[in-house]
């Protein structure tokens, strides 16, 4: 894209109104063109003034703690909060897995840009790699969730099977591009396609769904499906025999 083409698009680029493709083209140009980059920076500064000019609203008292928790949890500085009704796990290894993986949580790629989405997915994959030994030692099986035709997003599911008589658990974590807030329904399916377990996936629970069951046999789970609000499958994948698959 030429400088003329970029400058024609800079106001809308600064306002966040360009399409993904156009914004990406502009960004690539700005990486090497100092003149256009300077103009873009000036526009961003001007627009920041507009936002800062707003009448300040009263902050919700609990918001600071929510922000601190999300950032420090994502940074691995604190464990994710225990969910309501979660029973004490017998397998401490599983708790360690949850603490390690749960710190990434729901991730929404900013502005639907391809590189942000990819970076977030890579972070999620890196995180899972880090706890691979833990998952393996807990007897875990993993499913890589891939988008169905026409959809975007990726996800990972891990099914942990405790020993006989102990709790079994599965958790599902997904990354969706853009400001795609869901909610989504997660289903663990057996070989016949019957739903063994289902749960809701939305930003309110950090994008992480935990199933913890005693007595119900998660060993029969062979695939995971993520459905959108219309009941259409957007992500899915088989649960493989071992984490190393």
């Amino acid at each position: 894209m030429t400088c003329d083409g970029v400058r024609d698009r800079l106001p809308e680029f600064a306002l966040g109104l360009l399409s993904v493709e156009e914004a990406s083209s502009v960004e690539r140009h700005l990486e090497w063109c100092a003149g256009c980059r300077k103009e873009a920076e000036e526009m961003h500064e001007g627009l920041a003034c507009v936002g800062l000019d707003l009448r300040p609203a009263d902050l919700p008292p609990s918001l600071e703690e929510k922000v601190v928790e999300r950032v420090t949890t994502a940074a691995g500085r604190r464990r994710p909060p225990r969910r309501k009704g979660m029973r004490v796990l017998v397998a401490t290894t599983l708790a360690a897995v949850l603490a390690a993986v749960g710190s990434l949580g729901w991730a929404v790629a900013e502005r639907n840009r391809a590189e942000d989405f990819r970076e977030t997915v890579e972070q999620q994959s890196d995180r899972l790699e880090q706890i691979r030994e833990l998952v393996e030692s807990a007897g875990g099986r993993r499913a890589q969730l891939l988008p169905t035709s026409g959809n975007a997003g990726e996800g990972t599911a891990v099914v942990i099977l405790g020993t006989e008589g102990q709790n079994q658990a599965a958790f599902v974590e997904v990354v969706m591009p853009g400001y795609d807030r869901g909610p989504y329904t997660v289903r663990l399916l057996d070989r016949t396609g019957r739903t063994r377990l289902s749960g809701q996936l939305s930003p309110s629970n950090g994008g992480l769904v935990l199933f913890q069951e005693t007595g119900r046999d998660l060993a029969t789970v062979t695939s995971v499906a993520v459905l959108d609000a219309n009941g259409l499958k957007v992500l899915g994948g088989p649960v493989l025999g071992s984490v190393s698959d």
Binding site: G16, H44, E45, C49, L52, D53, R181, P203
Partner: protein
Amino acid sequence: MTSGHEGPLSSEVEQKLMSQMVAGDEDAVRALYARFGRPIYSLGLRLLGSREAAEELTQDVFLTAWRKGGRYDPARGRLSTWLMTIAHNMAVDRLRHDRGTGRPAVLMLEEIPEPALADEEDALIERDTAERALALLSATERQLLSKAYFSGWTAREIAEADGIPLGTVKTRLRAALIKLRRLEAEHARTVARASEGGAS
């Protein structure tokens, strides 16, 4: 919980706080929230129209700032600009995604903010600059920016709604943004000269 600073933070302090936040330092997160939480939340509330959405946006913005903190370059602009850009872009993404379901009405920028309350002593000094800059735009320019900035209308949508050529809308938008920036820069130089002169 506040940073204890009055006036804008130096770029060195901003960069240090960002580095600390990227490392997960809780105090740094709280300092940045004390500094920027309110304008981000206020922007979210204005664009998205609900406290719940504004809360989610604020959390998402800080999480994104943590994730991208390594890319923040103070040589390219102030931290307030960087964070407000992230906030606005995320809010517009949601706004356009939800378009047609409770989108806030177009809001004008002629509103005069209430005087700062006693407990807002740590409010960003940039707000004073912003008020001056916006007041010097024409009514047409403010209205145009309002549609684009607060309602997420593209230049084409504005052109169609107002019945004016697309090129005219783009030209006016560009001029308004450049004027905003120049007014803000002039004010910053004035403040710097007054400070160097030891003006009281």
